[in-house]
């Protein structure tokens, strides 16, 4: 198990390095630069600016310098949000994004696993059909449709919750974004749990548990559920990626001060350091989530520890 994790960790490094180099080269291939305004700058100013930001060096040298700076936690200055470094923007936005994403993941797991178990227990009956139908519907609802729809219904229509804003993360401002973000993932997790549990209920160790005369409730909770959740654990990596991208939408719709919104602004304004910094950070986070999933496998299904 430890060897596996070590190997995964070692393959994560070239992946991350690849992301950095690829995105760096792509960004520099882009036509137009951060100093292309409505008025052309004169030669000297332009050269001075390029020199100040290191844009006049050869590409290879720029990459090496950039990787060295990243390792010391310095993503450089933001070109659009002047007076801010990218690290400062990340420090400001990331905690908010992680709060939203983390709460959404928690809600999605609770709803998804709960619904999936219920459907599997009632397999073939109307509860199963209803839950699985709802799950399919939820996975098909894009956040950018549900988000505005929720605002329309619960904020503008019923007036129960605020339309948008953050207010230092007050619970009433968090409910709509978190629910909108969580629902598609709850649907996907419910499907995976339902399928995993249906398979696990046919396994030998579950038959043994039943033969010993355990109550069905105990059979499921103590013996079947854990191996059934392996597919859910393997979904964590893609789910983390999806939550981070979904957070971009939710932050835009609900005007939340998260990293996703900075990223979109950076992308619209060709803010190289900001976009690069966020992509690198997100790639790192997703790799981290895949590692967590690997650790969870071993805990969920002891048979996997041997490999």
């Amino acid at each position: 198990m430890r060897a596996l994790l070590l190997r995964r960790l070692l393959t994560a490094i070239p992946t991350l390095l690849g992301v950095v180099i690829l995105s760096f080269v792509l960004m520099r291939l882009a036509p137009g630069g951060p100093f292309d305004g409505e008025r052309a700058l004169d030669e000297d100013t332009r050269a001075a600016l390029d020199a100040a930001y290191g844009l006049d060096l050869p590409l290879g040298e720029q990459i090496i310098l950039y990787i060295g700076r990243i390792l010391s936690g310095d993503f450089g200055p933001s070109l659009v949000y002047q007076d801010f470094t990218v690290s400062e923007l990340i420090a400001q936005g990331l905690p908010n994004s992680l709060t939203i994403g983390g709460l959404a993941l928690l809600l999605a797991c609770t709803l998804g696993i709960g619904g999936g178990v219920w459907a599997a227990v009632r397999a073939g009956r109307w509860q199963d059909e209803a839950i699985m139908g709802t799950a399919t519907l939820l996975t098909a609802l894009p956040v950018f449709v549900t988000g505005p729809l929720f605002v329309l219904m619960f904020a503008l229509g019923l007036g129960w919750l605020p339309v948008s804003g953050w207010e230092a993360g007050s619970p009433s401002h968090l409910i709509l974004p978190v629910v909108a973000l969580a629902l598609p993932f709850a649907g996907a997790i419910a499907k995976l749990t339902r399928a995993g549990l249906a398979r696990a209920l046919n396994e030998d160790h579950v038959r043994t548990a039943r033969a010993r005369g355990l109550a069905e409730r105990q059979v499921i909770a103590r013996h079947a559920l854990r191996p059934a959740l392996v597919p859910v654990a393997s979904y964590l990596g893609p789910a983390a990626a999806g939550l981070l991208t979904g957070a971009v939408i939710v932050e835009t719709v609900f005007a939340l001060p998260g990293l996703g919104r900075y990223f979109v602004q950076g992308a619209l304004n060709r803010d190289y350091p900001l976009v690069l910094g966020v992509v690198t950070l997100y790639a790192g986070l997703i790799i981290l989530f895949n590692l967590v999933a690997d650790i969870l496998y071993g805990w969920l299904d002891p048979r996997m520890r041997a490999e």
Partner: protein
């Protein structure tokens, strides 16, 4: 039988309407009716009303649907071609080739791919062709995995071994014997890729990074509707509803086909 075809039928009706109705309408998707700005539903001459600058929402929804579906289909085909070729080669040759090719796919899976697509949009400018090449180039990963698995399974089947024994070259066996047998599953995943791409395209357009005005797409319409929803909720509900309907129908159709073939 009729029930199982319903989802595809709904998508077909939407697609046909999006193709043939717009030229028959009195208004184009970008024409401004100065006398009817923010017209309500069922206003005279504007069945779905008009938007904040007086553009006919029926024409806009239909043209937006057309663009969204066209982008999705093109991108899904790009994914199909790249994924099938990549997966077939990896699965057929096996060994080191397979390992190297699939290691790359695994590596790319770990990427925050939406951000890579955004990066591509930023780099190459926001043109509609690049939107679908960018999306298709990212969406091929699942297709490659599926096709590879199928090819590996087919490789051991007697008819392939017979073809090999008869001295057929690899290229003939792949194109003549293996790919036709992969087609069904590939079609199922094509059906599942289209709604994925629809979501990615709408996501990008919603953020202002995808399709650009004067062209429109369902993502742009949802965005515009969301900005004006306190006054005109239907401007959000109609394009949003069409979008969700397309995604649900194609997902159900794709899952059914996949489940039937994997049995």
């Amino acid at each position: 039988m009729t029930r199982s075809r319903l989802p595809l039928l709904i998508v077909a009706i939407i697609a046909i309407a999006a193709l043939i109705v717009p030229p028959l309408l009195p208004w184009t998707h970008s024409a401004i009716d100065w006398d009817a700005v923010r017209a309500p539903l069922f206003a005279p001459g504007h069945l779905f009303g008009t938007d904040t600058v007086g553009r006919d929402l029926l024409a806009r929804t239909l043209v937006g649907t057309r663009v969204t579906l066209a982008v999705a289909l093109a991108a899904a085909l790009v994914a199909l071609v790249i994924g099938t070729v990549w997966g077939a080669i990896a699965g057929w040759y096996g060994g080191k080739v397979d390992e190297a090719m699939m290691r790359l796919v695994d590596g790319l899976y770990a990427l925050p791919f939406m951000f890579v697509v955004i990066l591509l949009m930023v780099v190459f400018g926001r043109s509609i062709i690049l939107v679908f090449i960018g999306i298709g180039a990212v969406e091929w990963l699942t297709m490659a995995r599926v096709v590879r698995g199928q090819v590996i399974a087919l490789k051991e089947r007697p008819f392939v071994i017979a073809a090999e024994a008869a001295g057929a070259p690899s290229s003939r066996i792949l194109t003549g014997h293996i790919l036709p047998n992969v087609a069904g599953v590939a079609l199922a995943y094509l059906l599942l890729t289209v709604p994925q791409v629809v979501m990615v395209e709408s996501f990008l357009s919603f953020l202002g990074l995808g399709v650009q005005e004067p062209l429109t797409s369902l993502g742009i319409l949802v965005k515009e509707g969301a900005d004006d929803m306190d006054l005109q909720p239907h401007a959000l509900l109609i394009p949003g509803g069409v979008l969700v309907l397309i995604i649900i129908c194609l997902t159900i159709a794709g899952e059914r086909l996949r489940d039937r073939l994997s049995r």
